[in-house]
Symmetry: C2
Subunit: 293 residues, 2 copies
């Protein structure tokens, strides 16, 4: 085994926002040689003091590394930053937020330039990077052998979850989880608005709310089993007909309390439509099908 | 201590839907004398076989009990069922689903008839009744001394949480938690719709989704602290400006994948409005204020 084989892969990191900087620090701390580049060069200075090489251009940064990691503003920025870089023989790991379609097109673009490609979707905020116990992780998609080859290096800043050979899969799962988060926060926003002026201390209500939503999370597994089997009426605990019977009370309460129903109304309407279509004996699985055009 | 003092309070239970029946069973199992009445008398038969007394009229049922519990279709049904009953000296615990305004009006109605009153909001489905480890509980509101007096009896079918002297409080907290649940399920519905045709087994995705939402639940406490302090920019982990930057990706992905954005769009629009109003350095607390008219 020669020196090159025993040394840790060299990382080229393009994009030093809060997330890119956190990633660079994690790889530096683990002993990887890291070359950084950022459009605004000043953001590289603190990392240089911590042992990173700085590159004057993105092309220079790419040339210095084995694994090229992009964490830029958007997909267009990736194309612009790498326009003049020689990617042949490189492995490009694109952690820039984008759509599945953008990731698929970026993979084709990278392949045309002689690079192998992985797309990543980061399920963490910057303070969770390099903190294994934070539970943060990154979805990766693209050729499985590229992922397998770099898994150890990729696992340095955060956990890794392989999402599939379709380059768009990481972005798809990333967007799916973020969308679910926004739905939960929409419900939480409505709930807090309802009780904002009520008697119970808001922190006591927060405990009840957090416990309640945590207790409901396992229902997600039941939904998956129903989607898998195609049988939407087995394992039903609280059917849509019963839930829909409560809809007028939910809407009327919000109106009486002066709370806009905009965040909760679309789901309640979808539920009532599903019941009207004769599926009152189901839970939510059938509503998932209704959402797909 | 005489026989009356040592015996368990007599329950009059009006309304034998799935929930009312589960409540009756729990009190019977704990040794309470239970008299039941239901508009359709046949529903009382199984309970009679288990030891319940059956009453031919609601008024007769009310006369037989110390604690009158209503678990009917809606608030109007409560007024109708009890129209001919003598409520003087009774304690009425109304577990019928309704709005806070309905509970307040029902309290005044009960007081005018000489009864004390508690309103309840059941945070459980029938299979959780009489199963302490299920975590199900009931919000109660109204005069605290009435609640304190009956707490032991009320704790038989499910846990008890006192929500305040305002008779509407139990319904308000009930509706708030159900609304939050619907928001979470709306997000889950959208997420499942996105990944429905993707490569990863749907059950594997369900595990990621359940873990993700469970991990996010503690953010609810941060929101409560911010609402309490009025300082919405302390403790911010992922600010609205960063979250709003990802909104086009979320919407575009749904459109590309053929998934209707109706369930998630209102929250994303509210987020963008809050950022446009100059609050990009906050998380969601300020959006709660925007929802109140």
């Amino acid at each position: 085994m020669n020196a090159t084989e025993t040394s840790k892969p060299r990382i080229s990191l393009l994009g030093l926002g809060t997330m890119g900087t956190a990633l660079a620090r994690a790889w530096l701390a683990a002993g990887h040689p890291v070359t950084v580049w950022n459009r605004t060069a000043a953001r590289a200075e603190p990392l240089a003091a911590e042992g990173a090489e700085t590159a004057a251009t993105a092309a220079e940064a790419v040339a210095a590394g084995d694994l090229v990691v992009t964490c830029l503003l958007d997909d267009a920025s990736v194309g612009e930053a790498l326009a003049a870089a020689d990617l042949s023989g490189k492995d490009l790991v694109d952690l820039t937020t984008g759509t599945p379609e953008q990731a698929r097109a970026r993979e084709a673009w990278a392949h045309a330039r002689g690079a192998r490609f992985l797309s990543g979707g980061i399920m963490a905020v910057p303070p969770m990077i390099g903190v294994p116990e934070s539970g943060g992780y990154v979805f990766y998609s693209g050729a499985e052998e590229v992922f397998a080859e770099h898994r150890g290096t990729l696992a340095v800043p955060a956990g890794t979850t392989y999402a599939g050979a379709d380059a768009g899969a990481a972005a798809l799962y990333d967007v799916a989880l973020l969308s679910a988060m926004n739905g939960m926060f929409a419900g939480v926003t409505h709930a807090f608005a309802l009780v904002r002026k009520a008697e119970m201390p808001i922190r006591d209500f927060a405990s009840l709310l957090a416990d309640w939503l945590t207790a409901l999370a396992p229902a997600i597994h039941t939904t998956a089993e129903q989607l898998d089997s195609g049988d939407y009426t087995t394992g039903v605990v609280s059917n849509l007909a019963m839930q829909a019977a409560g809809v007028p009370t939910l809407l009327r309460t919000a109106e009486d309390e002066g709370v806009d129903t905009a965040l909760v109304a679309p789901y309640l309407e979808l539920m009532e439509r599903r019941v009207a279509e004769g599926h009152g004996d189901e839970e939510g699985a059938g509503m998932i099908d209704m959402l797909r055009r």
